[in-house]
Symmetry: C2
Subunit: 192 residues, 2 copies
């Protein structure tokens, strides 16, 4: 660690971001199946070995892509200003969480859907665990009774990118309508 200079670490981070941007672009333009180690290397203009050294495998790359996409939202709900971040009423925070996630799906939906198409990442990834704990904690803080682990899963299910993209693209539902319906769901579930 001592001889890892600041400049080197900075290069590595830039390199990593470059590769993840290339992977995200491939997902958006040509779908999840197009994200191979070869294609990411070609898109980013680096050798295939660089992609393997950085992510280990295609699965590692998809994991990293999800982290990249989720990390901004996590920062906002864990450490950002209210109503999404700490300080607001837990129900208002929950409503803000759903709206923020839906806004993310609107922009990054294809990346999220690509990740959901892997059963392992759909339910097993760290991003999902953090989201589940967050929703469960807010329900508990709001004094909501019931089976909170399952209630949290039921509240996250309608926010999945594949379902939301189907509602927006195939059923032509505006994202605001989806967000209003989710808020309504939360308010009914948490009503005293």
């Amino acid at each position: 660690m001592a001889d890892d200079s600041g400049a080197e670490r900075c290069d590595a981070a830039r390199n990593r971001a470059l590769l993840l941007d290339a992977a995200a672009l491939l997902v958006a333009e040509r779908g999840a199946d197009a994200v191979t180690m070869d294609a990411v290397a070609a898109q980013a203009g680096v050798g295939k070995g660089t992609v393997f050294r950085r992510f280990g495998s295609r699965s590692g790359l998809m994991h990293a892509l999800l982290d990249h996409t989720e990390s901004e939202l996590q920062q906002a709900y864990l450490h950002g200003p209210p109503p999404l971040g700490p300080g607001a009423d837990p129900i208002e925070r929950l409503v803000a969480y759903g709206r923020a996630r839906l806004a993310m799906v609107e922009v990054q939906g294809d990346v999220l859907r690509a990740v959901e198409s892997s059963p392992e990442l759909r339910f097993g990834g760290p991003a999902r665990q953090v989201s589940l704990v967050h929703v469960r904690t807010l329900l508990r803080d709001a004094g909501t009774p019931g089976d909170l682990p399952l209630l949290a899963q039921s509240l996250l299910a309608p926010l999945e990118a594949s379902l939301v993209l189907h509602q927006v693209r195939d059923l032509h539902m505006p994202i605001d309508r989806i967000a209003d319906a989710w808020e309504d769901l939360v308010r009914r579930i948490t009503a005293r």
Copy 2:
């Protein structure tokens, strides 16, 4: 139609059921990817041409497999005895619907999950449309206010086979607990 004898029609139906049972067995034993036209033909002990004549394509076969799996449940909630079928209070029918679907996932989960892994079948298939209309109609009959098309989608999302199998197999939640939590969700959403 006139010269299509009863015996011939009966043979065709038997043949179709035989092929669908073979496909369902392949899904259960070796996963959805194992369901190729070749593998189904070999499993059923018929020629590949028979499978193609009957279903047209792998996608057609997967459609038929879903119909086969869903049709019993549909019969029960559309035409069977209460509380699942007509005659009971709409909220009790909705609760019974969720419990019946979860019981089906417990038995036929691998077939249902295989179908859900195709985006087209997950949201576009006739079985999903019939389920959505049924849930929406019960919510309307119960006098539930709100955006019923989206509320129906939010209630079906936690019943998806992939999520339920994850809860049962990875999180070791008993199916009865999942059913109780879904009933609780329905009662909160429909509370006056």
